[in-house]
Symmetry: C2
Subunit: 134 residues, 2 copies
Amino acid sequence: MLGRLNHVAIAVPDLQAAAAVYRDTLGARVSAAQALPEHGVTVVFIDTGNTKIELLEPLGEASPITAFLEKNPSGGMHHVCYEVDDILAARDRLQASGARVLGDGNPRIGAHGKPVLFLHPKDFLGTLVELEQA
Amino acid sequence: MLGRLNHVAIAVPDLQAAAAVYRDTLGARVSAAQALPEHGVTVVFIDTGNTKIELLEPLGEASPITAFLEKNPSGGMHHVCYEVDDILAARDRLQASGARVLGDGNPRIGAHGKPVLFLHPKDFLGTLVELEQA
C-alpha cells in the first residue's frame, strides 16, 4: 500500500528566514513562496531530487500549524506524506485495522491538488502522517 | 551543496511494535532489525522506493535517542539526513556561515558505513539535520 515519500513538512515561524537557511546555508533549490489560504499556510518547496521538503508558515487566523509552533517556537518537523494509489482503499484498510483518520474521514484536496488524508499521530509512532493519492 | 534526502529517522520506544505498524497497518516493506551498538540504536529500514524511513530504538545505556523518547514517549520524527558530495567541504561552508556542527566537528562513520555529521537543530528550523557523504 505505502508508496513513495512525497514530502517532509517542516513548520517554521518565519518563511523567508527559513527559505534563506535552506538556500544560502545549505545550498538547496528553493521555490518561490506560495500562499495557500484554503490550507492556512504559505509554503516553499525544496527539491532534493528524490523527494521534497516543504517549509510551512502559518497563514490566517485558523492555521492548522499555529498550535505546533506555539509548542515548537523555532520550528520543527510537522508531518511526513506518503503516496498511495487509491486513497479510499487505503482509508478503508486503515480504519479496519483500528487506525484513526483525522477529520470526517473523507479525503480533501491537498496542497498539490490531489486527494489527501491525515492519520492520527498516536497510531503512527508519534508522527503525523499524510496520505496523498499519487 | 544539498543532495538527496537519504532518510527520515523516527525514534520509537518499541521497535517490533513500530515495525508492525509500518508493515501490517501501512503495508510497507520493512527490513529485519539491525543492532548498531556503536551508534546506540537498533534500526529497521523502510524502503519507500525513493528514500528510506529509519525506525530507531534505543540500545544500551548511553543511547543518543533516550532523552528524545523521554520527551516524546510515543515516539516522533528525530532527524532528517541529506546527502552531500564532500562532507568536509560542506562542514567548512556551514561553519563559515556560523552554523554549529555537533560534537568535535569531525565526521564519524554513520549507520551506513559512510562519513556523517550532525548539525545543531537551533540553526536549522528546530530540526536535527544529519549530513552523509554520498
